[in-house]
């Protein structure tokens, strides 16, 4: 089934790459350049899943996750952190802020699709 996924990253290339991969798998994609923009976009609509970068200007991915979890309609959707850091304490931080999972950058398209398939079962 077609899902709507939001990708949040300050690097346009990264957004585009994710967007391409997800669209190729038949999903609809929404892009945002940072956490603040994502929140703004999600004020009037909802999505099925959020994939967000961690280190971004204005609002980082962890704050975005926290903010989204505070909203009723985003309490239960999967939020995946895109991160370069795989140290346990970083992971704990992600978990503490309410993220569903993580993807280590760099990643292969297959990995991205595997995560999506896992958290958004058809």
């Amino acid at each position: 089934m077609r899902k709507t996924i939001m990708t949040v990253d300050d690097a346009a290339t990264m957004r585009r790459m994710i967007s391409f991969t997800l669209k190729g798998a038949g999903h609809e994609v929404l892009e945002a350049g940072d956490g603040a923009e994502a929140l703004e976009l999600l004020r009037n609509r909802t999505v099925d899943m959020v994939i967000t970068d961690v280190n971004m200007p204005r609002m980082d991915g962890l704050t975005l996750t926290r903010e989204l979890r505070a909203l009723q309609q985003f309490r239960r959707i999967p939020i995946i952190l895109l991160t370069t850091e795989s140290a346990p304490e970083k992971k704990a931080e992600g978990r503490a802020n309410g993220a569903t999972g993580w993807i280590i950058k760099p990643f292969q398209q297959e990995q991205l699709l595997a995560v999506v398939a896992k958290v958004l079962p058809v």
Partner: protein, 762 residues
């Protein structure tokens, strides 16, 4: 893999744009950090640039960029956390590191791979800097085998902290109730979902170029319609054509604006350039930039990028002195380099000012002579301004020694050529000891330009308005009196200045050009229409049959068959659908030998002076007073001038006059020839003065009246008829004395011919 090559290429292109922009930001923030001008966010911004490059490059499979980026990221991470302090070696290493990344990206751009360069030494340097702090090196991200995971599946070592507002649900099957809510919003979303704050989008430049071309065509069509509607009686049609006219103009401006970029985009890299160059030369330079927001067409931005960089490097290398020299000159240690950009009269002005030592004109002249760019004689004849412009000649360089930074002698002439290629002009002003300023004027756009339409030999030509100074129309009497022949070139005395004339119909061979033709033309035409143009800092008058109108023209490049012709800059389509050629003012002036490289002029000049009496010579005939007709070879004449009597001054015994910022002695020719001299009272007002220059010194010969210029084979009839003359000849059936110029100058000023080198070097 779903990725196809095309997408990969597209993504790489995006990565390149993004990364270059990011690295420029990196440089800027780095310099701010160095100056202590950074904010608390600065280290994070720097970190993020590299972080992003690393992440994106990794996803695109660019492992070399990724691994290099990774090492820097570790150091920057330590910097961000305050574990590493900002030191000059750190800044230098990180800037070099940014350059390394740029190099790889550039290689990726041009050669499609990351390049072969070895950065291990640089990377070791970065690692060392990181170790110095004794901070634990962050582990090099041992990626989890899968590269991803879900927290709930992770055997958590620590007790999971409960997320503040809500509990994390296990990866949930999607809530059916969310579905409908998602739909309405997404229904209208285009495939390429825009992000809310993205008020700016990237548009392919080709797309913009295409739009611009279409607008060009529309402007042409508009011109045609407006022209055809001129005589129309139909009010509806007239109104519609007027509306079309307005809208087209607006559209044209609008599209033009989309191609505009602030000049700050290319200036952004100058702080880094200035820092590096100044550092290399042991100088201290502060860069000030004004008018960052001044906008220019992107093609022009591209074209001036390199010339500007060169001028900036030059200013630091040649202009600004080292701290010690500055202190000795009573200036602050730190030199100032100011970049200014502003709009003026439909053009963009860019000024690069420094407060350095200025250009040493004497040395410039010397160098130009040494390099054989000008003859000694010519060098002397040059005004300061002209002499300054020698630095734009190919093969010129005044640097005492060739430095790494500039002085390879390929600089300023390339700068000038590049700027003139886009219809711009460059000029240098120098104030000895106080600095110099390079002024660049460039058009806003190259695609649509205002032009003056003229007719010559039945053809229409467009002259770009930028080079147009004024229009002059001479009728009957004026034209007979106004136009003289000097050196075979017709000249017109415009407000006291000699303006060389160029007949367009002859230059382009629209009419058979013969010497007699010119005179005949002059006599026939009831009026002379002259367009005063500026090329290469020189003015000249272009004589045309008719001056028509000004029009916005769309510049179309010439086909390659015609491209080699310097006289034309392009073609345009006129309102009536016919094609008109656009004149290249500089090319035309060169073709007419009005402006030429000084070097070229040296040769014929020399040839002429070498001729001895008895050969064919061009002679200036004048009346020395008391109806004595005299002649001197025209090659000895620098200029013919008129001075009002009241400008005559005295310096001791000598009569002098101020001329082009110099004081030059005046010699009354009549006093020095054997016949009875004329009394001061007899001097005509204005005085006719022949300026004679040699070795940088000028002297004015006051004559009664300038009669004519003739080309004659001189056969001396009678050897010296007395003091001050070389002999007599018969010219135009009149006995004419040949003036012995050097003898009378020596008589009036014995020092004139002495110690030239010393004078020059002084």
């Amino acid at each position: 893999m779903t990725t196809n090559d095309e997408l990969q290429q597209q993504l790489i292109k995006d990565l390149l744009i993004e990364s270059f922009e990011g690295l420029d930001r990196f440089d800027r923030e780095m310099l701010a950090l160095e100056k202590g001008a950074g904010t608390s966010d600065t280290p994070n911004i720097i970190f993020r640039v590299i972080h992003t490059i690393k992440g994106t490059a990794g996803c695109l499979g660019l492992s070399k960029i990724e691994s290099v980026a990774h090492v820097g990221e570790n150091l920057l991470s330590a910097l961000r956390e305050g574990k590493v302090s900002v030191t000059p070696p750190l800044i230098n290493a990180l800037l070099a590191y940014a350059d390394a990344l740029r190099e790889m990206l550039r290689s990726l751009e041009t050669e499609r791979h990351e390049g072969e360069a070895d950065y291990s030494e640089l990377l070791r340097r970065l690692q060392d800097l990181n170790c110095e702090t004794a901070a634990p090196v962050p582990p090099a991200a041992p990626a989890a085998p899968a590269g991803w995971g879900l927290f709930e599946e992770e055997p958590s070592a620590e007790s999971p902290v409960t997320p503040p507002p809500a509990t994390v649900a296990k990866a949930p099957p999607i809530m059916p109730e969310i579905e409908p809510a998602a739909r309405p919003g997404s229904g209208g979303t285009p495939a390429n979902a825009p992000s809310a704050a993205d008020s700016a989008i990237r548009v392919n430049v080709d797309q913009l170029d295409k739009l611009m071309n279409l607008v060009g065509e529309l402007v042409l069509a508009r011109n045609q319609i407006v022209q055809h509607c001129g005589p129309a009686q139909d009010h509806g049609l007239l109104a519609a054509s007027q509306r079309l006219n307005l809208i087209t103009t607006e559209l044209q401006e609008g599209v033009m604006k989309t191609r505009m970029q602030p000049i700050g985009n290319i200036w952004a890299k100058f702080p880094r350039v200035v820092r590096d160059v100044a550092g290399e030369l042991g100088k201290e330079v502060q860069l000030v930039m004004e008018g960052n927001q001044t906008e220019l067409d992107r093609t022009i931005i591209e074209a001036i990028k390199d010339p500007l960089t060169h001028i900036v490097r030059n200013a630091i290398d040649h202009g600004i002195e080292g701290p010690a020299e500055r202190r000795a000159a009573g200036k602050p240690d730190t030199g100032m380099l100011i970049l200014r950009a502003f709009h003026e009269g439909g053009q963009v002005n860019i000024e690069i000012m420094d407060d350095g030592r200025g250009v040493n004109i004497v040395r410039v002249k010397q160098k130009a002579i040494e390099r054989g760019l000008v003859s000694v004689e010519q060098a002397g004849r040059l005004s300061d301004r002209e002499a300054l412009n020698l630095i734009f000649l190919p093969g010129f360089s005044t640097a005492e020694k060739v430095t790494n930074v500039s002085g390879r002698g390929v600089g300023m002439d390339v700068v000038k050529t590049n700027i003139e290629k886009i219809g711009g002009a460059v000029d240098v002003v120098s104030d000895s000891g106080r600095g110099s300023t390079v002024k660049i004027k460039i058009p806003l756009t190259l695609a649509i330009i205002p032009a003056l339409i003229v007719t010559s030999g039945g053809e229409r030509f467009a002259i770009p308005q930028v080079s147009l100074l004024e229009l002059v129309r001479l009728e009957d009497d004026q034209k007979r009196k106004g136009i003289e022949l000097l050196c075979g070139t017709p000249v017109y005395r415009l407000r006291g200045r000699l303006l060389p004339l160029c007949y367009l119909n002859q230059q382009l061979k629209l009419v058979p050009a013969t010497a007699g033709q010119l005179a005949a033309d002059l006599a026939q035409a009831d009026a002379v229409n002259m367009v005063v143009l500026q090329a290469d800092g020189r003015q000249f008058g272009l004589v045309v049959d008719q001056i028509n109108d000004t029009e916005e023209i769309v510049v179309k490049p010439l086909g390659k068959q015609l491209k080699g012709i310097a006289c034309f800059a392009g073609a345009t389509i006129m309102g009536d659908g016919r094609v008109a050629l656009i004149l290249d003012v500089l090319g035309l002036a060169q073709h007419a030998n009005i402006v030429s490289e000084v070097r070229d002029r040296a040769q014929p000049d020399k040839a002429r002076t070498d001729q001895t009496v008895g050969d064919r010579q061009t002679l200036l005939l004048f009346d020395a007073g008391a109806s004595t007709r005299m002649a001197i070879p025209l090659s000895m004449v620098a200029r013919l001038e008129e001075f009002p009597r009241k400008s005559l001054e005295r310096s001791g015994e000598q009569e002098v006059i101020q001329y082009r910022g110099q004081i030059i002695p005046l010699i009354r020719v009549a006093d020095h020839i054997a016949r009875v001299g004329i009394l001061p009272e007899d001097l005509s007002d204005p005085m006719q003065v022949v300026i004679y220059a040699e070795n940088g010194r000028s002297v004015g010969l006051v004559v009664g009246r300038i009669d004519d210029i003739v080309e004659e084979v001189i056969t001396v009839k009678r050897e010296s008829s007395g003091r001050g003359t070389l002999g007599s000849v018969v010219i135009k059936e009149k006995v004419t004395d040949l003036l012995d110029v050097s003898a009378i100058i020596r008589a009036a000023d014995p020092a004139f011919y002495l110690d030239h080198p010393a004078t020059l070097a002084a």
